[in-house]
């Protein structure tokens, strides 16, 4: 009996202290850590078309098509397949790929989540995120010293 009363007292304590651990999303945006791996961001200016990201991707999220002179023609991203492993970012020698902190993007069908490099310039999901800014505390761990100004569309 004492045990039951103790249980009841415990829950009542929680009921009365009025604190909640859930938040009102989306009004209260959840904190995302600097290392968080959200949706993929690709910089055409920096890309040297080495295809390492395409090779390392575990499930063919990235597809690159090159012409016979080995110039990049297409960079297609099937973001619906992405498992956010960050391997592409890890292998990229020129920091042309970053996984941003944005996790809020949707599509009505899975086809909505396929983007080519032109569409990637104007995708809605980047919002105003500056990936470098958001990861400032950890910048050293993430971004090597690339050449020139880093430009992430």
């Amino acid at each position: 009996m004492i045990g039951i009363l103790k249980s009841m007292a415990t829950t009542m304590k929680h009921a009365l202290d009025g604190s909640t651990f859930t938040v009102e999303y989306p009004e209260t945006a959840p904190d995302v850590s600097p290392r968080f791996r959200g949706v993929h961001k690709f910089s055409q200016e920096r890309c040297i078309w080495c295809r390492q990201c395409e090779n390392v991707c575990p499930n063919d999220t990235i597809q690159i098509v090159m012409d016979d002179k080995r110039n990049g023609e297409q960079y297609n991203l099937h973001i619906g397949q992405c498992i956010y492993c960050r391997l592409c970012e890890e292998v990229c020698p020129v920091d042309a790929i970053l996984l941003t902190q944005n996790f809020e993007f949707t599509g009505d069908t899975k086809n909505d989540l396929v983007y080519n490099k032109e569409q990637l310039k104007a995708v809605p999901w980047y919002k105003d995120i500056d990936p470098l800014e958001s990861r400032e505390p950890d910048r050293g761990a993430w971004i090597g010293d690339g050449e020139g100004e880093v430009d992430y569309q």
């Binding site: 039951i4 415990t10 850590s33 391997l87 761990a141």
Partner: protein, 552 residues
């Protein structure tokens, strides 16, 4: 009377020569693995040899059975261990011909071989002679072919229909004379922790027999790993086996196996981070186990579940800061981890310490709320009994085995990482019931907290110029062809083992996962016979299975 007691066979260390002598002529060859000596035997000698190894040499734990197909033969490998000392291992390799893949069943020796062999039959296509229940286990009954065999046509569509002979409205008593009722618990049921289907035979409210039907969440994880490169592409997948929050523990299983295979040294600093991360995962996983078990017993999404979730959330925030994701961490790399602790370090360490400081108060709260509640006690004490001998027979490991008083913990018995150098205890309880399993998990949370505490101390004081998080590992790994290794770590649910055979390329030739949940679940039938339906649900909850890991 003589006070000298004959030592049990499992307490005696067996040397390789003794093994050779024990197996004698029945060994037709040797096929040593990196982790254990391997003996090749004839398909007809399986039971004979395994009986001898179990009774004479004390190998009482059939850890894993790997089946695979080579160009010229099928092969079943029985990975044997001892519960008292899992570092003593031996592999029994049983080759069978391509046109007649029939091998003797090991089920009479080890009960756990039942599900092992069903899986081997299902995926690879080896027939086990004398198996009591030779059905498919992961794939639907009507599946054609064996997906992991070499001649399987993966492009051929499978029509998975209901069995032709099955009449959906036939009377479903076990036999028409009895008064029993057949009840499908699941695959859509509020308490099956995913998509599990339990075929239960009831007499009133009493459970007479259960037959877990798994495989609804089979995602070809083994095959996916066989198609990924060692260096990069496999590591994201272990997170998805036991997906509830023990990602780092699973990653460690792969990391440990692959590092042994490719002979990679891991820097000590990285080992400390790994140890800390893994224990954080264990806390998160045990919190969830506690919450869902309470859910099963309490009956609603009530306070305990929410409190457990709330506390798990704190761990997940820490893990997110450390790894960058909340569940699918992909944080370990061969030869270390992806990153050092997040900057500023002090903040991260302080945040983790805060969590550890608050933990005792939370554990007290759980004790007030759950374990000291009399109704909870009458519900859990002496229900779902799993005797230690039965637990061993069914290959149970982890908190399930420890709740039955089987003192096994690979972190201590087969040390890896940094566990050896830390102060902590293995928790066991002798109750063998649902209540003990809850107690074990709750105490393990406290032990994990101890480990994390010590890791934090180490990390804090680690000299700045020696913080090496990754060894220098070549970009492409190609281990020597036909190197075989089986390694296990203590996952959140028990012994999570991985067998890899390299074939000389940068991808594994065979990748086999030994899932702890799979074998813990197989013991369910022993736990619930004669119990009531509510105890069936509670026992299932106390096993803490994750269907992603059961079905792989």
């Amino acid at each position: 009377m003589s006070t000298e007691i004959e030592p049990r066979p499992q307490d005696v260390d067996v040397t390789e020569d003794e093994l050779e002598a024990l197996i004698g002529d029945r060994a037709i060859g040797r096929d040593d693995h990196l982790n254990a000596p391997g003996f090749v035997i004839n398909p007809d000698d399986v039971q004979d040899v395994l009986f001898d190894l179990r009774d004479e040499a004390g190998f009482d734990h059939l850890s894993c059975l790997t089946a695979q197909q080579y160009q010229d033969r099928y092969e079943s490998i029985y990975h044997l261990k001892k519960y008292v000392d899992p570092t003593q291992e031996v592999s029994i390799v049983v080759p069978t011909t391509l046109d007649q893949p029939v091998s003797q069943s090991a089920e009479p020796v080890f009960r756990t071989a039942d599900w092992h062999e069903r899986e081997a039959f299902d995926l690879v296509g080896i027939d086990y002679e004398g198996h009591p229940d030779p059905r498919r286990i992961l794939l639907p009954e009507t599946w054609q072919g064996h997906p992991l065999s070499n001649d399987y046509d993966q492009t051929k569509p499978q029509l998975v229909t209901l069995s032709e002979h099955e009449n959906p409205i036939q009377p479903d008593h076990v036999d028409s004379e009895s008064d029993t009722m057949f009840l499908n618990v699941g695959p859509h049921h509020p308490a099956t922790h995913g998509v599990l289907h339990i075929k239960a035979v009831l007499d009133g409210e009493t459970v007479l027999d259960v037959d877990p039907d798994v495989g609804y969440l089979h995602r070809c994880e083994e095959q996916m790993c066989q198609q990924g490169t060692y260096r990069h592409q496999i590591m994201p997948y272990p997170d998805r086996w036991d997906y509830v929050s023990s990602g780092l523990l699973n990653e460690w299983a792969y990391a440990r196996t692959a590092e042994d295979l490719a002979d990679i040294e891991v820097p000590e600093y990285a080992q400390v981070i790994r140890t800390m991360g893994a224990e954080l995962c264990r806390i998160a996983s045990h919190m969830l186990a506690l919450g869902t078990f309470a859910l099963d017993v309490y009956g609603d999404f009530t306070a305990v579940f929410q409190y457990a979730f709330r506390d798990r959330e704190v761990v997940q925030d820490i893990l997110e800061d450390l790894t960058g994701q909340r569940l699918m961490f992909n944080y370990f790399r061969l030869g270390g981890v992806a990153w050092d602790l997040p900057e500023p370090r002090e903040e991260f360490i302080a945040q983790t310490r805060d969590f550890l400081d608050e933990l005792p108060a939370k554990v007290d709260e759980y004790n007030d709320l759950i374990t000291s509640n009399e109704i909870f006690q009458i519900r859990c004490v002496d229900t779902g009994i799993l005797e230690p001998e039965v637990a061993k027979e069914y290959g149970c490991t982890g908190p399930v085995a420890r709740g039955s008083g089987v003192d096994i913990d690979l972190r201590r018995d087969d040390p890896y990482g940094y566990y050896e150098n830390l102060e902590w205890d293995v928790v066991t309880e002798d109750g063998c019931d649902n209540y003990s399993r809850v107690l074990v998990r709750m105490q393990e949370v406290e032990e994990s907290a101890k480990i994390i505490e010590q890791c934090l101390d180490l990390l804090e004081e680690w000299p700045e110029d020696e913080r090496e998080v990754q060894a220098n590992v070549p970009r492409t790994l190609k281990p020597d062809a036909d190197t075989e290794v089986y390694r296990a770590v203590e996952g959140a649910k028990g012994e999570l083992g991985i067998y890899i055979r390299s074939d000389g390329t940068d991808k594994p030739g065979r990748f086999k996962i030994r899932s702890p949940c799979f074998h813990n679940l197989s013991a369910l039938e022993q736990m619930v016979q004669g119990e009531y339906i509510p105890d069936l649900i509670a026992s299932l909850g106390s096993l803490d299975i994750v269907l992603g890991e059961v079905d792989r």
